[in-house]
């Protein structure tokens, strides 16, 4: 395993830099990644002149997987492979680094949430079975078009993040019109599931299908050697609980008898726990 107990603040600042990179790569007016794909595949939807986070939608292609009539859209659109192939494969190799280091939509409520004292926050861990609920939401997301109506576009935090970025860079048109579902989604994303959720990532925990797909990919392959993951070393762990306290995804359980356990279905490889561990017992690296 690689080692390193970096100060927590330094790690969070580095992550902030990663999220800034994510903004530049995926969000208009920059959207450099999307523009690059457009250059490489001019006949695909990414080859249109519109380049924002919707062009590389991380939600619709996942829904299309269970909608056979949309499979031709997947075939003709290499950029739609991002959430169904590229990001999950990356998560298999190195954990869901996209969530922990590149996704501004996940980071915004987490970082804003640090402005609110913990005593005002709700900690889902121990009160709710987070993992089953997360996968339940995911199944609901996939099959809602068959049961009721899809929430793919109407209940999307990426849209709101794009609207915020656009507004900051001079285009406020995205903020001019509301829908009930849009207001509901934005409010839930930032307020109850962000500011007032321990860790600030309630939306990521339950409502992000892209994150769930990456977590599932990482979790199912974590036992294989050669893959990078956050791992706890039981022999040196002092069971202080520092890692569990700083984990934004509430993914760590510390038990003096059973040891420290990192829930692979939740971990986003943000490495805050690695930085916070005083004994260097949590490390990010290959299985030894």
């Amino acid at each position: 395993m690689s080692s390193g107990a970096r100060p927590l603040t330094t790690n969070r600042l580095k992550r902030l830099g990663g999220y800034a990179l994510g903004l530049v790569l995926f969000y208009a007016p920059f959207a450099l990644f999307i523009k690059l794909v457009a250059m490489l595949t001019p006949a695909s939807p990414a080859g249109t002149s519109v380049s924002d986070v919707h062009t590389a939608c991380l939600r619709m292609p996942l829904g299309w997987l269970v909608q056979p009539w949309m499979w031709p859209s997947l075939g003709g659109s290499p950029i739609s492979w991002l959430p169904i192939l590229v990001l999950p494969l990356g998560a298999v190799l190195a954990g869901p680094l996209f969530c922990g280091w590149l996704c501004p939509a996940g980071a915004l409520p987490e970082y804003l949430g640090r402005l609110v004292p913990d005593r005002f926050k709700f900690d889902f861990k121990g009160r709710v079975e987070i993992v089953p609920l997360r996968y339940g939401f995911f199944v609901g997301f996939l099959f809602a078009p068959f049961v009721s109506t899809s929430i793919c576009c109407s209940f999307c935090n990426f849209t709101h993040m794009q609207n915020i970025v656009s507004a900051v860079t001079g285009d406020v048109s995205g903020l001019l019109f509301f829908t009930s579902m849009g207001v509901l989604a934005a409010t839930m994303w930032i307020v109850p599931l962000g500011l007032f959720t321990k860790g600030g990532r309630g939306w990521c925990l339950f409502l992000c299908p892209a994150g769930t797909t990456m977590a599932l990919s990482a979790a199912l392959t974590q036992r294989f050697g050669g893959l990078w993951r956050v791992r706890a070393e039981p022999r040196t762990c002092a069971h202080c609980g520092g890692c569990a306290d700083v984990c934004p995804m509430r993914a760590i359980d510390v038990d003096p008898e059973e040891g420290t356990r990192i829930e692979p279905h939740l971990c986003i490889s943000c490495l805050d726990c690695v930085s916070a561990c005083p004994s260097g017992s949590i490390k990010y690296g290959r299985k030894s």
Binding site: A28, A43, P45, G47, T48, S49, V50, D52, H54, M60, G63, Q67, W69, M70, V128, E129, V131, P132, L133, R134, Y135, G136, F137, F138, V139, G140, F141, F143, A144, P145, V147, S148, T149, S150, I151, C152, C153, S154, F155, S173, L176, F177, F178, T179, S180, M181, V183, L184, F206
Partner: protein
């Protein structure tokens, strides 16, 4: 220790919460924001409709079905957009949008970089199979006029170079009746 049954139950709860959200979104969404698909060159029903799979040749939005949040915050504003205005022909074309029947203060927009708002034209040549977006922001008087039909308009697509009429989609905004546009634009 949580049993497998309890975990399944939590999962079922999660799925049904999403189904509930979807049901609410489906109920109010079509009244709060209009979405449509439009093809060119095309005639009749092939011109467009509420979604790529629902080419009815007409879009009808019933604003009275809006949810309580929309009715409270923004009862008189309506956005009608499409990001699938598609060239289904075999020739690359520059297109212009001609509208009629919408309120005078309606604002028209596209995110396409070659959009000319003064002429409502996508000035680049759009290749066959390629799509652009087009939308309009409507503002009605407050409170909404007590009329059964607020808008009886249409969007006509013309070839910007030859002025050839390529497609026409009627759009109605009504105060009562069933919304003809569902909440989703993409599926």
């Amino acid at each position: 220790m949580v049993s497998r049954t309890q975990k399944v139950l939590w999962g079922v709860v999660g799925a049904f919460l999403v189904f509930g959200l979807g049901a609410y979104g489906g109920k109010v969404g079509g009244s709060e924001r209009g979405s449509f698909t439009m093809n060119y060159p095309a005639q009749g029903k092939e011109c467009g409709g509420p979604s790529p799979r629902e080419l009815t040749g007409l879009v009808s939005i019933g604003v009275d079905g809006a949810g309580v949040i929309k009715r409270t915050l923004q009862p008189s504003e309506l956005e009608i957009t499409s990001h699938v205005v598609t060239n289904v022909g075999t020739t690359a074309r520059s297109i212009s949008f001609e509208t009629s029947g919408f309120p005078d203060n309606t604002q028209y927009h596209s995110r396409d970089t070659s959009w000319n708002p003064a002429t409502r034209t996508i000035e680049r040549l759009i290749p066959p199979g390629d799509s652009v977006d087009f939308g309009m922001n409507l503002s009605f008087p407050k409170p909404l006029p007590d009329e059964p039909v607020l808008v009886d308009g249409s969007v006509v697509i013309r070839d910007a170079r030859t002025n050839e009429r390529l497609s026409e989609l009627p759009i109605k905004v009504v105060r009562s009746g069933v919304a003809g546009v569902k909440g989703e634009c993409c599926e």
